[in-house]
């Protein structure tokens, strides 16, 4: 008589059709060897399933989190890019302008004021403008 063999594991895993289950149970009724095998497989299966589910190591969580925030990085990039564009405009203006004396204080103020409002790292306009005023004099 053919022993069901791997049907035993598949039964424990809920992977048998109704017909296969019936076939297996009938066999187990009359076969002590397969009945013992069923118990053995049940024990082994439970042992593996009882292994603790490990936590993801902290460094992987941190790296995943770091990758979850590209939005913040993008925002920083946008501010930086805006500041760079403003700086470029100012540089071009400086080249095109024949001398500093021809630039009015109001113009400078509005340029640097605009930059300061876009780029918080640039610092308050008041800190910059007095020096420029001296230059113009």
């Amino acid at each position: 008589m053919t022993h069901p063999g791997e049907l035993i594991s598949a039964y424990l895993d809920g992977e048998l059709s109704r017909a296969e289950i019936e076939q297996l149970l009938i066999h187990l009724d009359g076969c002590g060897r397969c009945a013992a095998e069923m118990q053995n497989m049940q024990v082994v299966r439970s042992a593996v399933r009882s292994l603790p589910l490990l936590e993801l190591p902290a460094r992987l969580v941190a790296e995943a989190d770091a990758d979850v925030v590209p939005l913040h990085r993008n925002r920083g990039f946008l501010v930086g890019a805006a500041a760079a564009v403003v700086a470029l405009v100012i540089a071009i203006a400086a080249i095109v302008t024949p001398s500093a004396a021809t630039v009015s204080l109001e113009e400078l103020n509005s340029r640097y004021g605009a930059r300061a409002s876009l780029d918080p790292a640039f610092g308050p306009a008041k800190m910059v403008v007095p020096d420029l005023t001296e230059l113009l004099e």
Binding site: G5, R45, V48, L51, L60
Partner: protein, 167 residues
Amino acid sequence: MTESVPLTWEEVARVYGRKIYNFAYRLTGNSDDASDLVQEVLLRVRRGLASYQPGSFEGWLWRITRNAFLDDVRRRNRRPTAPIPDEVDRWDLASAPAADVEYSRISIGDDVQKALLELPYEFREAVVLCDIVGLSYEEIARAVAVPVGTVRSRIHRGRKLLRESLT
């Protein structure tokens, strides 16, 4: 297992990161290799998500995971397993103790992990995907690209070898 298609890489990392880590840890037995594998898998998922066609997400994900694992093993230039023994299905009644005796001898944890690592790769993979990850035979078959009958056989033969190691 529910088939849902994560929309973003971050969701895949959040939902499956721990499962992938546990799969990798039980296959390799150490946390450094498992961590490296998780990183590699997430990288591949990130690259692959753009071209992912809705279907069996689990099958897709675990295929990527197992391929990453095997690539890593090849890269390290070491064999993943002992060859599959021919005699695994042999019944050995004389040496098979009663189930209740076996149960008392099996200590959960280190012994089981050690016994898993002694399994030929194909058996270890099938048992881990079934008992640790919780995939169905059908999902394992898709991930490993073998027929369901082969999965069934590998799991049973793997468990029989485990029983031998643990007693």
